[in-house]
């Protein structure tokens, strides 16, 4: 597995985790839990943006990693 694929996989995982946190935040009735989930979702969203930036950088540096 190339670095590019690993990166893409990491992004997909984080994205899935963020979405899961968002559903949890919406589903739970506990205010404290809701806030925690919301914060986690925000953290994941931040991570997602950073990872996407990194992926872009990798693709620029090593075009052969770009996904077909």
């Amino acid at each position: 597995m190339t670095v590019g694929t690993q990166m893409a996989k990491a992004i997909a995982t984080v994205q899935s985790a963020a979405a899961t946190m968002k559903t949890f935040a919406l589903e739970t009735q506990d205010e404290a839990a809701k806030q925690t989930f919301q914060e986690l979702a925000n953290t994941f969203d931040d991570a997602l943006v950073k990872l996407q930036g990194r992926q872009k950088y990798i693709e620029e540096q090593e075009p052969q990693y770009k996904q077909q």
Partner: protein, 286 residues
């Protein structure tokens, strides 16, 4: 007949008559009527009061006076509807007080308005700064309406070029523990739907003071028992989060599978969902 009997009978019958006449005279905001209507209302009120306490002993004379004032008031309404000339004659024309950001002093003088009064009225409209006002007009009801300069107006989604979902007015479907059928029907919903929603939230109908359904079908409830925390309707956000999750899952599958065909299928569908998300975002999240 004794005097007190007379007063009693007159008052009762006038009470009914006046309520009926008030309906005929139409729906008007009492605080915002043109001066002539203000006078009509007061004359009617005074005549009615005088008849009621027997100051006008002749009932017929009093009723004639009331009739004239009511009929002429309605006649004036109809004529002003039919004729623009008559309308302007009765209601007067509105006066422009500020045009292109400049105060029209001669119009102020014509309306016998002082600068302080103008400024006070502008402040009512949240225009503390005269520089923000492009146009202001004195309506024939005495209100001053203000049109702000385009860069001082409140920002709308249109200004920010944000797409937002269209929304119709919410309908009140439960009031004081009673289901209102007509608003429910106008949304294309029925009692069964409402009962299922209440059941899902774990609330009995008797406990609901007020329930509203917005145009996207979310039910908002206010309960008599304020200690109960209700889950806020978040159906749309939920749908979006679920789509987001599915999209991320498809991406993972596409990366993990060895099968070329499956990979292509997963990638294609992930992209489809991504497009869908972009399209749905304004409708589900804003």
């Amino acid at each position: 007949m004794q005097l007190w009997m007379q007063v009693l009978i007159r008052s009762l019958s006038l009470f009914i008559l006046i309520i009926f006449l008030a309906r005929i005279l139409g729906k008007r905001n009492i605080a915002r009527v043109p001066p002539y209507r203000f006078i009509i209302y007061h004359v009617l009120a005074i005549i009615a009061a005088l008849i009621s306490v027997n100051v006008i002993p002749n009932l017929v004379n009093g009723l004639i006076a009331i009739g004239v004032w009511v009929i002429f008031s309605i006649a004036v309404d109809y004529l002003s509807m039919k004729s623009k000339w008559f309308h302007d004659l009765i209601h007067g024309k509105e006066t422009v007080l500020i045009k292109h950001g400049k105060i029209m002093e001669e119009n102020l003088q014509k309306e016998r308005l002082t600068g302080e009064e103008l400024l006070r009225e502008l402040r009512y409209k949240d225009a503390f700064n005269l520089a923000d006002v492009e146009f202001a007009v004195l309506e024939n009801t005495g209100d001053i309406n203000v049109f702000l300069k385009s860069d001082k107006k409140p920002v709308t989604p249109h200004d920010l070029s944000i797409k937002v979902a269209p929304q119709a007015e919410p309908q009140t479907v439960i009031l004081d523990g009673n289901i209102l059928n007509e608003p429910l029907a106008s949304l294309g919903l029925n009692r069964e739907w409402l009962c299922i929603q209440l059941e899902n939230m774990g609330v009995s109908l008797d406990n609901v003071f007020l329930g509203q359904v917005d145009s996207s079908g979310d039910l908002y409830l206010d309960l008599f028992d304020d200690a109960i925390e209700l889950p806020q309707p978040k159906v749309k956000e939920m749908v979006y989060a679920n789509i987001e999750k599915s999209q991320a899952n498809l991406m993972t599958f596409a990366l993990e599978t060895e099968d070329k065909e499956a990979k292509a299928m997963y990638t294609k569908n992930a992209e489809k969902l991504k497009e869908l998300m972009e399209k749905l975002e304004p409708y589900l999240l804003r």
